[in-house]
């Protein structure tokens, strides 16, 4: 069992993971709210799959919840993927387009 100290350390480490560089508390609130929002949004998205079949939706929801706990702060990855670098945008546009075509053509 960890002491109070180590729990504090754990929380601190987790929180610091959110921001890179100099974290101010006004930036931190943004990141932490963003994280919570993302988690909620992703869970809602997973639950959308109930329109295909309800069990699939439940399984997916469980999987997503597990993945979220496992991968830690999602917000960093999200911020990285949302940079306006041309390569990244191009990559995501291609993925989107492929998904749209795949879903409509063979869905």
């Amino acid at each position: 069992m960890g002491s109070i100290d180590s729990l504090y350390d754990k929380v601190k480490r987790f929180v610091i993971e959110f921001t890179s560089g100099k974290g101010t508390s006004s930036a931190m609130t943004g990141y932490m709210t963003g994280e919570l929002q993302t988690v909620a949004f992703i869970m809602i998205l997973a639950s959308f799959f109930r329109i295909f079949s309800v069990p699939l939706g439940i399984v997916l929801l469980a999987a997503v919840v597990g993945a979220l706990f496992f991968f830690g702060p999602m917000i960093k990855a999200m911020e990285r993927e949302n940079s306006s670098g041309l390569n990244r945008v191009l990559f995501w546009v291609m993925i989107y387009f492929a998904v749209i075509i795949a879903v409509t053509l063979w869905g």
Binding site: G30, T33, T104
Partner: protein, 503 residues
């Protein structure tokens, strides 16, 4: 409502007045007085025309339509294949163009009052922004739609470049790079649709669309994909939103008002076209819905992370585009009304916020929440305006955002998707948090900077307060009497859902 008319007098004026004004302003270049007179008179003329005009069609170049039985007609209410390029001015167009021209007037006034030398080219680009928005919202022709989107993205790059900062040059470059891609994509979609139907006129193409022909199915799907791609680009939906947000963030805040109006109108116009053309294809609405939901979510989360108020607003604009498209993609009458009304409201309350941001820009010499603070003491009215704008944006009752969001929520509940309603609610709550994070830091946090005296920027132009007051008035007006706008939007929604857009 005289819809048999195919030569409505007002329609060409919406395009020609901005073109002539833009040419004149560009030639005048640095003559301030002449520029102010030209710009103000032209934008006033646009407002007057948009108010006075009845509804109807315009067949440019005066070519008639070919009747299915042979022979030609000039009556727009008969079924015929159009030889000419067709524009339509209906209630939706009226409210959209009226709002856009009012905003154009405000933006022009602010630009004249707050910018130094050589404003001619910049203001001429603002007029052209209006023109491209008007083209896209009125046009009923694929090829022309494509040109509207194309010229629109070029103009956006120009407006952004005019600030002359390195960051805006980067944003403009990236944006135009993508305009090449998605412009080509829209052109391919157009070619495919033209290939299977043979009509560039959208209403005619809808009638001729071989929707049940299995041997042409993948042509339609690929055309749909490309059209959605250009929709994503024109409106700045995910995943192109970082580029669009850069554009919004690095232009002058007052110019962003017109840029976001343009992209909202493009979203509405292209979205309705997609719905009318491909709405009955399987998965079409689902694809559009998922794009909207992702945009809302990513936009609002990214807005939370920003430390510059301009960029917060930029991402919020992106996120609220998702609200507009959500309503349109639902494809029900209520949904479309909600989407269109959201577009109208969005344009208004985002303009309030952007003007407040412009005020901060003058006062605080920047808009970063880290360096600017305590503005409320020096400009209490600015703070009030910003707070009202934030309330409206996050859907607090007496203001207009509430009215459209409630329609959207009801529409998604009626559609059988309570999740969408939750997403809408979460977006408005998060909008509130993101905005108040910025507003608290900029306006209310005590000014801890020691060099407060020298940080004093120039006084905010009085014109900005006048414009803010007018916009807040519209915000409250639509919030209290939503029927004022909804009556205009009803007809467009009914037309999309029940009949292809032909008289």
């Amino acid at each position: 409502m005289n819809e048999s008319i195919s030569n409505l007098w007002s329609i060409p004026l919406f395009i020609i007045i901005p073109i002539l004004a833009a040419i004149l302003l560009n030639v005048l270049y640095s003559r301030k007085r002449a520029i102010s007179v030209t710009a103000v008179v032209s934008s006033l003329a646009l407002i007057v025309v948009s108010v006075l005009s009845p509804f109807g069609f315009h067949w440019f170049t005066g070519q008639p339509a070919v009747l299915p039985t042979g022979g030609y007609t000039y009556r727009a209410d008969l079924l015929g294949w159009n030889l000419a390029l067709e524009y339509y001015y209906g209630p939706l167009q009226q409210i959209a163009i009226f709002l856009a021209s009012v905003l154009l007037l405000f933006v022009v006034l602010i630009a004249i009052n707050s910018l130094k030398k050589n404003t001619g080219t910049y203001i001429s680009l603002l007029f052209l922004t209006f023109m491209s928005a008007a083209i896209v919202i009125m046009v009923n022709d694929f090829y022309h739609l494509w040109i509207g989107v194309e010229i629109g993205s070029l103009i956006v790059a120009g407006v952004v470049l005019a600030t002359g900062e390195a960051v805006s040059q980067k944003a403009a470059l990236k944006y135009t790079f993508f305009s090449a891609l998605s412009g080509a994509g829209l052109a391919i979609a157009l070619a495919l649709i033209l290939g299977v139907t043979g009509y560039a006129n959208i209403s005619d193409a809808i009638i001729a669309m071989p929707l049940n022909d299995a041997s042409l199915a993948s042509v339609l799907y690929v055309a749909f994909g490309f059209t959605v791609l250009s929709w994503i680009y024109a409106g700045g939906l995910a995943p192109i939103h970082p580029l669009k947000a850069d554009v919004y963030g690095s232009a002058f805040p007052h110019a962003t008002i017109l840029l976001q109006t343009q992209s909202k109108l493009m979203l509405v116009a292209i979205g309705l076209v997609i719905l009318r053309l491909f709405g009955t294809l399987p998965f079409a609405k689902e694809v559009m819905l998922s794009v909207s939901v992702l945009t809302m979510m990513i936009g609002v989360v990214m807005a939370m992370l920003q430390t510059d108020f301009r960029w917060t607003l930029a991402y919020l604009i992106v996120s609220h585009s998702g609200l507009v498209t959500l309503g349109i993609s639902l494809g029900t009458v209520q949904g479309i009304i909600g989407g269109l009304f959201q577009a109208v409201n969005d344009v208004v309350y985002m303009s309030v916020l952007l003007l407040a941001c412009e005020g901060i820009y003058y006062f605080g010499r920047g808009t970063s929440i880290k360096t600017v603070s305590g503005i409320a003491k020096r400009a209490p009215w600015l703070a009030v305006a910003a707070i009202i704008g934030a309330f409206a944006a996050s859907g607090v009752p007496p203001f207009n955002g509430f009215q459209s969001e409630i329609i959207l929520i009801q529409a998604s509940l009626n559609y059988g998707m309570p999740e969408l309603a939750i997403v809408v609610l979460m977006v408005s709550v998060t909008t509130f948090i993101a905005l108040f994070k910025g507003i608290y830091n900029i306006f209310l946090r005590p000014d801890d900077a020691p060099q407060a005296g020298e940080k004093q920027g120039m006084p905010v132009p009085r014109m900005l307060y006048v414009c803010l007051a007018a916009l807040i008035f519209i915000t409250i007006l639509f919030g209290v009497y939503p029927q004022l706008a909804i009556n205009f939007l009803n007809e467009a929604a009914l037309k999309v859902v029940y009949i292809p857009w032909v008289p």
